[in-house]
Symmetry: C3
């Protein structure tokens, strides 16, 4: 099963919860057991898995990433090298386990599109391989 | 094949070698060829692959990660935002190749649970899809 | 389908585009749909996906990673702890979607071996699981 999701970010930096949309794809696939790959076909966004309970964790992660970008002179003229770097640090694909017909996540796990150069229209690839 | 491993960390920050336990799961699965996903269902731990020869590399990596955490005021009241950030930087899932019935790693590769908020009881998901 | 690619890096730090070599493996596999895992069996190199258009993005990413390495005293006597850390930050495996017989990447996506301790001879594992 392959599905392309679409979403719209509202801010330059933002973590958008996509857990339930991806879980819907897994359920719709009918796969009992397998691997689910979530991939962002963008170079200034990431896919991350982190805490989905206290929203302060999201703020802390975005603030820390901002601070981690070194204060150097970037050459890329679009002026968004910070976003490319954040995408590199976070990664833009994640693999998860499918068991008993649903995503097998941890208790506090949430899956997020990490927007670093919004607002933009974004796509997410969801692929499930059974086995 | 899906298997859940359990382990106990002893320190706040620690790299725990899980290579042989994961290899045992691969062998027990009987899979000749495929993909193995290792996933930590936690948001203050990671799964990493790095050098498994000189133990100084582990110390250097933990020290460097500690130093990379920016000195900003975190909002999350549990006081472990540094651990969430380290988990984000390292990632908490890794995909590996299975060939000839075993994990196909590099000569110096070791697979580690990266504990950033221990000591704790931790779980690891191991999933193998043949193909 | 499993294939091992070989390449030679020329500099200490370098992003080497491997997109077309990996796509050739996908096409040769005859897989219509599935998951492709690309894995670097090395601990001082990474596999990254980032912009493949403006070459300045590559320079900016390498410069930023260099600057992100903390100025601490590393213990590992080979003197390449910075390279181990960069490999950790970038990750050394990536999973991608295969659809309609080819890699389903974003418009600007390129797949790169990230060399952090070259020049060296390097290997890359490419594994495709259909489904």
């Amino acid at each position: 099963m392959f599905k392309e999701l679409k979403l719209e970010s509202k801010k330059r930096n933002e973590l958008i919860n996509i857990t339930s949309q991806v879980e819907e794809v897994v359920i719709a696939s009918g796969a009992e057991s397998g691997i689910c790959v979530v991939y962002a076909p963008h170079t200034t966004a990431g896919i991350i898995i982190n805490e989905n309970a206290d929203p302060d964790v999201k703020t802390d992660l975005l603030d820390a990433l901002e601070k981690m970008v070194p204060k150097i002179k970037f050459k890329h003229e679009e002026g968004n090298s910070d976003a490319h770097l954040k995408s590199l640090i976070c990664g833009k694909e994640k693999s998860m386990v499918v068991e008993k017909g649903s995503l097998k996540l941890g208790q506090w796990d949430g899956l997020f599109l990490a927007e670093f150069d919004g607002p933009r229209n974004r796509k997410i690839f969801v692929k499930i391989v059974e086995g």
